[in-house]
């Protein structure tokens, strides 16, 4: 009885244990800059970027404050802010590290109409002509530097474009040949492409329709007509934002997908489109570039649940791309191999946090983020740590492996949890034929493929050094087994002989 009681008590204690364990927080709430380790755990890291300057209506001395600004565009030292609510565009310039207002663009000379109506984006071509996505005037308007009207791109008259739908250009990019790619609201065939002379050249890079089998069956066979009408129809969605890099590839972000697709890397929230509209983004990391891997902030008050919503993307000159997540106000940097370099940011109203981050741009290596709610432009400068990361990956891309290893070691002094640094050092060690050292570093980075390469060399080297001993060991082994077999056989022969003798005796 006594014993049974004890067992029962232990079982009860085990049952109650999980309830006592208390709330588990994932730690993201208190971490500003971080990285993911191999297991997807959040590893706090030194700041890669810090706020250098914040630009508001006050610092610019604007009479009418900015109202729901939507987009940023950098052209040389000029920064354009599309102030949608006031139907105008602010042109700023950076002189001695601070931004000041150059002019306010709110009308285009000799255009019809001259003013903007709900402008959403701006871009410039190589001559410096400005292209504005003038959404509710149904046009992309082009003007020269002195704001004289040149031309406009309007709704294509082609039959592939739905003539009943309104043409609402929201985002645009211009390539080096003057071709214009427009992301239009409610156009789900992809980006609208115009030749430089204004002729419609078709759609590229359509988002694929996504639905799962279960939804399809449910809708097709188990729903009434009324229910079907209530449900979302399976149509592809337009992109959220686009950016064209220096090589003419279009980076697009997408925020409409199911969480399941994202986990299975079927959603592609960040894409790199080639001229045929195919996604050629390289993903060599364990986790695809999707922003945050944890979608719930635990039990915190500001509980933003769901995957990152990447509202904008920009690509630095070293092919590092940076996307901004409006959901949690975070900025994610990935290198050209799709490996996350850092993530930073949080929701809030402090100067280094965002409430409604909608746009991101870069000027050199500085990042500029626009917050539509607080109508504030925040300029971030890379810290020593951030600069070292850029330096190391650039050195590596240029083939200066030994110098990059030195830089990676500097990074390790600042952040010993930086996975990429171990791979960088390991690669340099491999070039110096230090295979066991390389193996150790690759193992720390959990890099199977690299480890395997180093290990093969190591094994070969070891074999060449110890071939004599290996041969000797094999010889001894063979001799041992052969000898044992021989002895056993003899033994059995003797036994059998004895037995047959015994049998004949009887």
């Amino acid at each position: 009885m006594r014993k049974n009681q004890k067992v029962l008590l232990i079982l009860l204690a085990l049952l109650l244990l999980p309830q006592c364990a208390g709330a588990v927080t994932d730690g993201t709430a208190s971490v500003y800059t971080y990285n993911f380790d191999y297991w997807g755990e959040i590893m706090e890291s030194p700041d890669a970027y810090r706020v250098d300057e914040t630009i508001t209506s006050v610092t610019l001395g604007l009479d009418t404050p900015m109202n729901a600004p939507q987009s940023l565009y950098v052209n040389g030292e000029r920064l354009y802010v599309v102030d949608r609510g006031n139907n105008r565009i602010l042109e700023l310039t950076r002189e001695s590290e601070t931004f000041s207002l150059v002019r306010i663009i709110d009308r285009v000379a000799r255009a019809e109409p001259e003013t903007f109506n709900n402008p959403n984006d701006i871009a410039a071509d190589q001559e410096g002509n400005l292209y504005v996505a003038d959404t509710n005037n149904n046009r992309v308007i082009v003007m020269d530097r002195e704001l004289n009207y040149i031309k406009s791109f309007t709704k294509p008259t082609d039959s592939t474009f739905d003539q009943n739908a309104e043409f609402l250009p929201s985002k645009l990019v211009v390539d080096s040949a003057g071709r214009v790619f427009v992301n239009a609201t409610n156009v789900n065939k992809g980006l609208v492409k115009y030749e430089a002379d204004g002729t419609f050249a078709g759609f590229i890079g359509a988002n694929k329709v996504t639905y799962n089998m279960w939804d399809y069956i449910w809708k097709k066979f188990f729903s009434t007509k009324e229910q079907r009408e209530q449900m979302a129809s399976f149509v592809p969605t337009e992109y959220k934002n686009i950016y064209i890099d220096k090589d003419g590839f279009i980076y697009a972000t997408n925020i409409n997908f199911s969480e399941g697709d994202l986990l299975g890397d079927a959603a592609h929230p960040i894409r790199r489109l080639n001229s045929l509209g195919n996604d050629i983004l390289i993903k060599n990391d364990r986790y695809p570039p999707i922003g945050d891997l944890y979608w719930s902030e635990g039990l915190a008050v500001n509980d933003y649940h769901g995957p990152s919503k990447l509202y904008d993307i920009t690509v630095l000159d070293n092919d590092i791309y940076v996307a901004v997540d409006r959901m949690r106000g975070r900025v994610f940097g990935y290198d050209s191999q799709g490996i996350m370099l850092w993530a930073f940011g949080t929701r809030g109203s402090a100067e280094n946090s965002f409430n409604g981050a909608v746009s991101i741009e870069h000027m050199g290596k500085d990042l500029i983020v626009l917050d539509e709610f607080t109508a504030r432009v925040t300029v971030f400068k890379p810290t020593e740590y951030g600069n070292l990361i850029y330096q190391a990956s650039e050195l590596y891309l240029n083939g200066e492996y030994d110098e990059s290893a030195v830089t990676w070691k500097e990074i390790q002094k600042l952040n010993a949890n930086y996975t990429l640094s171990y791979i960088g050092i390991g690669r340099a060690q491999m070039r110096q034929n230090d295979f066991s050292g390389a193996m150790e570093n690759f193992k720390k980075a959990y890099s199977r493929v690299n480890f395997s390469k180093a290990y093969r060399y190591y094994r070969q080297e070891w074999m060449e050094k110890n071939i004599l001993w290996v041969a000797l060991a094999l010889l001894v082994l063979v001799a041992f087994f052969a000898g044992r077999g021989f002895i056993r056989k003899k033994k059995w022969e003797v036994e059998a002989h004895d037995r047959s003798k015994a049998l004949t005796k009887h």
């Binding site: 079982l11 009860l12 049952l15 109650l16 191999y38 297991w39 193992k443 959990y446 199977r448 493929v449 480890f451 395997s452 290990y455 093969r456 094994r459 056993r488 059995w492 059998a496």
Partner: protein
């Protein structure tokens, strides 16, 4: 089969004590190579022993844990910082025992000849290939490179298929079933194990409800009295 081996295999268990234990352990090697004979004689001829079966189960759990901890990271990537060895062992041992129990419960109803002890011993002996192959595989994993992983994975799958085959034959021989009936009994066993787990969970959840009821009753009474 050579004469020597035949003689060895049909030796009657005449030894006592520790040497009998060793003989029954060594008999596992015979069982896995001659499952039909081996499992038939395992209990009927008393060639196996409970001690050897326990040893085999323990070795199986040990192999599993060693595999997780010491296999080269190229082949098995486990978050080593989160591994609780005892928890991992229990997560294999408990389902094993529950399945044995479920099988015994069901086969008793359907003319199975095996007792619980017979089933337990048989199942434990069927795990032998896992230990024999996967334990050396841990060493092998430190010799192979990642692009030679096929050698490793073939051995691992081979050991698992072998074990599965042995389990099937063991149940067939222990209960004296035909292959079809064995298959049905295996499916039923899995369902039975789920039922057992469900009942256990219901029991403990009711128990904790009852406990909290009395706890709150006590609190209430104290509150009223004070």
């Amino acid at each position: 089969m050579t004469e020597a081996k035949r003689l060895q295999s049909t030796d009657r268990p005449s030894e006592k004590g520790f040497s009998r234990y060793l003989a029954s352990l060594r008999y596992a090697l015979y069982v896995i190579t001659h499952p039909f004979d081996g499992f038939w004689d395992l209990n009927r001829e008393k060639r196996g022993s409970l001690a050897a079966a326990n040893t085999m189960l323990f070795l199986f759990l040990l192999t599993y844990v060693l595999k997780l901890m010491y296999t080269n990271f190229q082949f098995i990537m486990v978050p080593i910082q989160y591994i609780n060895v005892y928890q991992r062992m229990a997560s294999l041992a408990l389902p094993f025992l529950v399945l044995c129990l479920a099988n015994w419960a069901l086969t008793t109803l359907f003319d199975g000849k095996g007792r619980f002890k017979d089933i337990y011993i048989g199942m434990c002996y069927a795990l032998t290939p896992y230990v024999l192959i996967q334990l050396p595989c841990i060493l092998l994993s430190h010799v192979l490179a990642y692009d030679e992983a096929d050698f490793y994975s073939v051995l691992i799958s081979f050991s698992e298929i072998w074990c599965g085959f042995l389990v099937f034959v063991a149940l067939m021989e222990i209960h004296d079933f035909g292959p079809g009936k064995t298959l049905i009994s295996i499916v039923a066993t899995v369902i039975g194990a789920m039922v057992i787990l469900f009942l256990v969970m219901v029991f403990f959840s009711l128990l904790s409800d009852a406990f909290s009821f009395f706890a709150s009753l006590y609190k209430e009474v104290r509150f009223r009295l004070s």
